[in-house]
Symmetry: C2
Subunit: 215 residues, 2 copies
DNA sequence: GGGGGCGACGTACACCGTACGTTCCTTGGA
DNA sequence: TCCAAGGAACGTACGGTGTACGTCGCCCCC
């Protein structure tokens, strides 16, 4: 049996798999090459450099988003669906998500979500400029949320997930933090995300820049 | 003249200065040591490892936030002030901001902003659980915003700031993106941030979980 | 005066990204 | 059928990285 030839797609896939298995720090050209049973420099026949490889990883993950957009649905439900779609890939590729949000990619892979979101906001009654503004705001929220959700598990250790040790914070200096330390320590990301989406939807529903009366 | 002795503070300060001058990629133990006119391993007498040094950088930058909180002011104004305070350090230390938002630090340096924010939200009429929820949402927005603002200038090149080349996007596939490419290409971060803050303030002002009637 | 501890240092190792030159295998044309 | 050409895989090498470890000199306190 002959092993199938190297290709950019196989390299990117190996990188994704390695990142999810051992974290982004484990990624090196040598490591990926050995993972594929191949010499290090052979990778450079398909990928110009490491940065481009990581871009490929981000692009690959991003392109797996499943958009089941229904133009007939209410805009609020479409916003909810698109937000869920984003978060689902973060659930599927938690370690890669950091790459997606930290590398800004100039490719066209990230354009489809933008297109869908803009269409949704236009149908919600925003003009072009306000649609862009609102979209930027929403993306900021999503990126910030995913970053917290992912960043809280750098070593994927559920045990020490608590960021705040209630015993170590001085109740005199930080009364609120101290009183709420239990709530601050644990976080239901699912509920937190849904809460944010709902508040966002409700906020733009009443926004003055929106023209009412669209389907 | 005798050079003043090495110290954790001097090392962190040199790192901050180097990051702002040449970017986070330029940071290496050897580089910082030579910057201080010192041997590489001498650094390890004051800093356990590079990760701790970067944590120190994040902590240092974060601790420079100037909170001029006025408990007598309206809660909405207090939210605006605190948001501005956050964004100002991003303006002051643009390259370091990525570190602050990407490393989650277990130290107590980040606790003061949390304390102030929670107090503000409590005074706005939220109970503990909702204050934490709203705070998490707000932090997500701020982090996402700063990340975009900083990430758009990795090499600090104002020329190629445009992420989207209008000529390269197919109007058939992406009509909205194509039509709004000019708006998508440029971004007034200041206005964008203010827009988000206002929408956030207005959203929580009408939120059902908030109890009205506080000063 | 002497001893102990600490801070600066140099060396060494394993690993990183990648520029460059070599080898082999496949494939198109005569 | 043979040969030339090109691409793909490879090995070597260079400069850089983080840091473990052993050594040396200075200062302070007893």
């Amino acid at each position: 049996m002959t092993t199938q030839p190297l290709s950019r797609a196989r390299i990117v896939a190996a990188a994704v798999e390695l990142i999810e298995r051992e974290g982004a720090d484990a990624v090196s050209m040598r490591r990926i090459a050995s993972e594929l049973g191949v010499g290090v420099m052979s990778l450079y026949n398909h990928v110009p450099n490491k940065g481009a490889l990581l871009d490929g990883v981000a692009e690959s993950v991003l392109s797996e988003i499943e958009f089941t957009d229904d133009p007939e649905a209410h805009w609020a439900d479409r916003v909810r669906m698109q937000a869920r779609a984003f978060r689902q890939i973060a659930h599927h590729y938690p370690r890669c998500t950091m790459l997606v949000v930290s590398r800004q990619l100039h490719s066209h892979a990230g354009l489809l979500p933008v297109e869908r979101a803009l269409a949704t906001l236009r149908s919600a009654g925003f003009d072009g400029a306000d649609a862009v503004r609102v979209l930027r705001l929403f993306i900021a929220f999503i990126v910030g949320s995913l970053l917290r959700e992912v960043g809280v598990t750098p070593a994927f250790a559920p045990g020490r997930s608590s960021t705040i040790d209630p015993e170590e914070v001085d109740p005199e200096l930080f009364p609120e933090v101290s009183a709420l330390s239990e709530l601050l320590g644990s976080c239901d990301h699912e509920a937190e995300f849904a809460f944010g989406v709902e508040l966002f939807v409700q906020a733009i529903a009443v926004h003055p820049a929106r023209r009412e009366g669209t389907r």
